[in-house]
């Protein structure tokens, strides 16, 4: 075979047989969970105007899209994520529908991003958006659904790291940093570089506050860390964030899902996008988050209709990688239950026999 025929572009994938089974199974389980909570599925276009994604995910992020020109000369992009498409639809087409609107989606997205940690240029997201409610109940609902979906898939050893962007914002606000310096501080917190953060803060605040900030941004754990945080922080915004986190934790305890939740006050990964609670889902066996989500109350305004919203997405590729051995074992039984018919004899009787077996729900293969 010639090299040009066998070579495939980096970052795309061909998926076959058992791996397909695994992905379809995972997709079905998750989508049925969403359906069970009255999220209606929306099928979105593979490409749309490039500007739309810049509005949705910010100019910098939208640079990662695959872009091409449409027949009308306008710049188009393969979808790098789904939320922009959902938000635009809700803001322009669903104006008259009652709120909240619950929507789910499943499909491939395409990003010109260095493939790492097993993620390709093309990967499959399954997610939901809950639009029109600014109540903590909506955030909690998203969390509860995520946990149900993962449990339904047979995952037990997973943790959802729960953060809140206003915790950091409240702290940063008082330091009166320039945009560049704020970014720098954020990187230190994101990578949990406590010493560097401490040195950085020297120019901005007294030693006591510095120590408190360094401690706060590495605080992770169960609900008791909120008490510790309260003793160290007084600004209104951060305190309100702690209130939200505490309420969600209390609800989670009542529901018996607290063991899956870990508070991470140093989560600043989604600061450009999220406006409230954030969550990152980690599972044993995977080095990166297999899903993330949170509250994004600013996004809908970019599409002309300010509305609160919360949502999350799971990466099907990673779920499939994690669950493949177990699912393939189960699927193997079904695969082996095949009745093989010889195609050598009279073709009509072969097909008659095959049809009879199929009517009984049997699996056939003409050999």
């Amino acid at each position: 075979m010639s090299i040009t025929l066998s070579k495939i572009p980096p970052g795309v994938q061909y998926i076959f047989d058992d791996e397909v089974r695994v992905r379809r199974f995972v997709e079905r389980q998750v989508m049925e969970t969403f359906e069970g909570w009255s999220y209606r599925e929306i099928i979105l276009p593979i490409f749309d105007y490039a500007d739309l994604f810049a509005l949705g995910m910010g100019k910098e992020q939208a640079e990662m899209t695959y872009r091409f020109t449409g027949r009308d000369g306008k710049l188009l992009a393969l979808r790098p994520e789904m939320t922009s498409l959902v938000a635009r639809t809700v803001a322009t087409r669903f104006i008259k529908r009652a709120r909240p609107i619950r929507l789910s989606y499943s499909g491939e997205v395409f990003r010109w991003d260095e493939p790492r940690g097993g993620r390709q240029y093309e990967f499959h997201q399954i997610g939901l958006e809950h639009i029109g409610s600014d109540q903590l109940e909506a955030d909690t609902e998203a969390l509860v659904i995520a946990i149900e979906a993962l449990r339904r898939l047979g995952l037990e050893n997973f943790t959802i790291a729960l953060g809140h962007v206003d915790f950091f914002n409240g702290l940063a606000e008082r330091l009166e940093l320039s945009e560049d310096r704020r970014r720098e501080m954020r990187t230190f917190i994101d990578r949990k570089q406590t010493e560097q953060l401490d040195r950085f803060l020297e120019d901005y605040t007294d030693p006591e506050n510095r120590a408190a900030l360094c401690r706060l941004t590495t605080l992770t754990g169960k609900r008791e860390i909120i008490e510790e945080a309260r003793a160290l922080v007084s600004n209104e915004r951060s305190v309100a964030a702690l209130d939200d986190l505490e309420r969600v934790c209390l609800i989670a305890e009542e529901l018996g899902i607290a063991s899956h939740i870990d508070i991470d006050l140093g989560d600043v990964g989604g600061l450009d996008y999220y406006t409230g609670l954030t969550f990152n889902i980690y599972a044993q066996g995977l080095g990166t988050a297999l899903g993330r989500g949170g509250r994004y109350d600013q996004l809908l305004a970019n599409f002309g209709r300010p509305e609160p919203a919360v949502g999350f997405s799971l990466c099907l590729d990673w779920l499939a990688q994690l669950l493949a051995p177990e699912i393939i074992r189960t699927a193997a039984e079904y695969k082996n239950e095949v009745t093989r018919l010889s195609g050598a004899g009279d073709i009509v009787s072969v097909f008659k026999e095959a049809n009879r077996l199929r009517a009984d729900g049997r699996k056939v293969e003409i050999v």
């Binding site: 949990k192 570089q193 010493e195 754990g221 980690y282 066996g285 995977l286 080095g287 990166t288 988050a289």
Partner: protein, 216 residues
């Protein structure tokens, strides 16, 4: 099975890292230095150590195959790995520098010509020159980078300098320091949460062993 898997960089940092862990009460059997085994447990059985090439430490940690690792800041920057780096362990101090022949220092980088730079650190090198508006041609070598200017392969190199002796002996001078590098503890983002207690213990334990650093 051990609580945590830790990747250590073979070579320059290995002995110091093992010594550092020993001070923290985590004893890697002496066998590690003698044998060729690349995977072994500490004496308590709570930690598994894997020994890999320095540049591979961030890879193992980012993918979560190792929960934590020790590598130089230089290697970490070059890898651009998305990991936590909670501790600067302070040892293995060296500088990542741009070096060249003495006459090239006087000329500086002619900003209108393309700088030819030999290095083991292509990403850091490209970033450094591009940020200064200097067009750069990066020549990636895997060792003996100091030879490149002497043989006319490149005008400059970007490389690690500990004492500066190798540079001097090859007739090179430091033109600019890109960054200082020390050994870092890096931690996988998922492990940070999934193995929170064990990880918090490790970090707290190692933190107490970081000695006062000169000049800070």
């Amino acid at each position: 099975m051990a609580d945590l898997t830790i990747a250590l960089a073979k070579g320059r940092l290995q002995d110091e890292a093992i010594e550092f862990f020993r001070r923290a009460g985590i004893v890697v059997p002496d066998e590690a230095r003698r044998s060729r085994r690349l995977l072994l447990d500490d004496e308590s059985g709570r930690y598994s150590f894997i020994f890999v090439k320095p540049a591979d430490v961030p890879v193992y940690v980012e993918y979560g195959v190792a929960d934590a690792g020790v590598c130089g800041r230089d290697v970490l920057m070059e890898s651009d790995a998305d990991v936590h780096e909670p501790l600067d362990l302070g040892f293995g101090r060296c500088r990542l520098v741009v070096a060249g022949k003495p006459e090239s220092e006087e000329r500086g980088y002619n900003p209108l010509a393309t700088a030819r730079v030999a290095t083991k650190f292509p990403r850091i090198t490209a970033d450094y020159f591009q940020q200064r508006g200097v067009p750069v041609e990066v020549i990636v070598l895997s060792g003996s980078v100091e030879l490149a200017p002497a043989l006319g392969l490149s005008e400059h190199i970007v490389d690690l300098v500990e004492t500066g002796r190798t540079l001097r002996e090859n007739g090179l001078v430091v033109i600019d320091e890109i960054t200082e590098s020390t050994a870092r503890l890096i931690v996988n983002r998922a492990s940070y949460h999934l193995k929170r207690d064990a990880m918090a213990r490790l970090i707290a334990n190692l933190r107490t062993c970081i000695s006062e650093k000169p000049g800070q």
